[in-house]
């Protein structure tokens, strides 16, 4: 059931016809559970036709293409990839991550202590993923070029193994993963190197064709505040989340779950997207320098009609 067409410059419709439905990504089932636990799910004024468990950027783009997904939650890279692949999708909400979410872990018995020492070393690199961009940004910040280091192409799920096997000197690990790694290998002289580089964006995005459907665009607009409130709810109820999500559905121990939630970011839903757009532009330029994409204007990735919605839905403390 598609609604009337909506130009990308037209204001968002205010009415939401009954029967409108969206398919919303729920990575590892988290999104859906979050809204259920917080009760926010009852406030959704449209039908959620499904909650597909789709997280990885390429999978999301595929699902968008297949019309199997209307709204997804990703980091900053996938929208750039989608644009580069010629697929038109727009960012409709964003949450800034101030704390770095990645660390550089060394292999056991390594003498590397700073990013500057990366020169000439073997670095695990997954170019289509956030980890890859974090690495590139860190090298850039330390004044190193790609050619100064050995980039070992791997998918991020092989990073841990590659470190354990001593096949790479350095791999960027998500902080939760890095903790697990250190728990096991710190005794063998494995350590981590902090980086100031953040993976700034946690965003909600949708295919342009969804946003060109007046009814669906209205539904998306209605979902953004709920999404924002959900983030806040999780942040404010860590113990419920640990128990109900990590322990019950993810099969991990409470202790491990607590470690993970302790590292989680405070949600930050800025009323203005300028900083995010600038950051995204930097990323694009960085990737373009490495020859991984062609440069373009980051502005085109954002649908600024939605800019104010998320911030308006949360208490002031979560806006800056």
């Amino acid at each position: 059931a598609s609604g009337p067409a909506l130009s990308s410059s037209a204001p968002l419709p205010s009415s939401l016809p009954t029967g409108t439905s969206l398919s919303v990504a729920s990575a590892l089932g988290a999104q859906q559970l979050q809204l259920q636990l917080s009760g926010l799910i009852r406030q959704i004024p449209f039908t959620v036709s499904s909650w597909p468990n789709i997280a990885a950027g390429p999978d999301v783009i595929n699902a968008f293409r297949a019309h199997s997904l209307d709204l997804a939650n990703n980091a900053g890279i996938p929208p750039i990839q989608a644009h580069y692949q010629g697929y038109d999708a727009r960012i409709v909400a964003l949450d800034l991550t101030r704390k770095p979410s990645y660390l550089f872990a060394t292999k056991p018995h390594s003498d590397i202590r700073t990013v500057a020492q990366f020169a000439g070393r073997r670095l695990a690199f997954s170019q289509g993923q956030a980890q890859g961009v974090v690495l590139l940004r860190a090298l850039h910040a330390a004044g190193l070029k790609d050619s100064d280091v050995q980039l070992v192409p791997l998918t991020s799920d092989q990073f841990l193994t590659a470190l354990e096997a001593g096949q790479v000197d350095i791999a960027p690990l998500a902080i939760s993963q890095a903790l697990a790694y250190l728990n096991r290998y710190a005794a063998d002289g494995a350590h981590t190197i902090d980086t100031a580089v953040v993976d700034l964006l946690n965003l909600l995005w949708a295919p342009a064709e969804v946003l060109a459907d007046a009814d669906k665009a209205a539904a998306v607009a209605a979902f953004v505040p709920i999404w924002a409130k959900g983030l806040v709810w999780v942040y404010e109820n860590p113990s419920v989340w640990e128990q109900e999500y990590y322990v019950k559905t993810q099969n991990i121990s409470l202790a491990q779950a607590q470690q993970v939630t302790a590292l989680s970011n405070k949600p930050l839903l800025p009323p203005s997207w300028d900083e995010a757009i600038a950051w995204e532009q930097q990323t694009i330029d960085l990737l373009a320098q490495g020859g991984y994409v062609k440069s373009f204007r980051a502005e085109t990735l954002f649908d600024r009609r939605f800019e104010h919605l998320a911030a308006a839905a949360v208490p002031v403390e979560y806006r800056s």
Partner: protein, 281 residues
């Protein structure tokens, strides 16, 4: 008439007694020992347990069997293992059924008529040469990301060995039996049922065995895409959280399942091929 006796060296062979042995050297492997096939896997398990117990294995790399079993028990009672297994089995079973049917029908069509062969056989060869993983995006485009797409991919993984083995097996059916069927004026359907299928069964069973594990294995990849349960999902998750014991548990379940399903197919095979007098029987 009694000729000069050649230098014979008679070998006394007593039969039936405890010392009785035939004098002709046996080239066939001898009588089947039931459950002997368990020996290899049990040995492996013993080595693993021994090495773990002796502290030779880094538990971060390969946890001890008891750790894995403990994790298994824990996930079974308190975790999601039960639903994961049920979901995976159900997916595998659906894909398997469809793939099996498709493989059999295509193999019969291609094996019994040259037109069928011209249309089907080359296409199947191309299809099986194309990486199914590479086709996932295409299938998602056509079928969405729901269950259908998973079942279809499993069916593809299953139909290929079934087709290939069955097609080859029925191409190899002795021409003498085909002649017999012609002379007896069997209808095409009788021919298929009473000559082609039983004659091709030995080869078909190999395809079946490859297919059973194939259906199960493809879940590892498929259940990383829009699944919230299933064994593949469980292992994928564990990889995210670095839970080596869960990963090894998953591999163990695969191993046990594979061995069990293989044994089941073989049991069936032995019953259905009871007529066979071959090297192994």
């Amino acid at each position: 008439m009694p000729a000069p006796a050649p230098a014979t060296t008679p070998v006394s062979v007593a039969r039936g007694g405890p010392t009785g042995r035939p004098r002709t050297r046996r080239l066939a492997p001898g009588p089947r020992r039931p459950y002997a096939r368990l020996l290899g896997p049990l040995l492996l398990l013993a080595v693993w347990a021994g090495a773990s117990g002796a502290g030779l294995l880094d538990p971060r790399v390969l946890p001890a069997p008891w750790t894995v079993l403990h994790t298994g028990a824990h996930l079974w009672t308190g975790g999601t293992l039960r639903t994961d297994l049920a979901t995976s089995l159900w997916r595998a079973a659906q894909g398997f059924a469809i793939g099996l049917a498709a493989g059999v029908v295509l193999a019969l069509a291609a094996g019994l008529s040259r037109t069928g062969e011209a249309l089907i056989d080359g296409t199947v060869q191309v299809n099986r040469a194309v990486p199914t993983l590479g086709l996932i995006p295409l299938f998602i485009l056509w079928l969405g990301i729901g269950e259908t797409f998973k079942v279809v991919i499993i069916a593809i993984v299953v139909y290929i060995p079934v087709y290939l083995n069955l097609h080859a097996a029925l191409a190899g059916i002795d021409a003498r039996y085909v002649e017999l069927a012609e002379v007896l004026r069997l209808s095409r359907w009788q021919f298929v049922r009473q000559v082609v299928i039983p004659g091709a069964l030995p080869g078909f069973f190999v395809g079946l065995r490859l297919a059973v594990t194939g259906s199960w294995l493809s879940l590892v990849v498929l259940e990383q895409i829009n699944a919230t349960n299933g064994l593949g999902y469980l292992m994928f998750q564990a990889q995210n959280y670095g839970q080596t014991d869960v990963i090894v548990l998953g591999l163990l379940i695969y191993g046990v399942f594979g061995f069990a399903s293989d044994s089941a197919v073989r049991l069936l095979e032995r019953r259905v091929l009871a007529w066979r007098r071959s090297l192994s029987s």
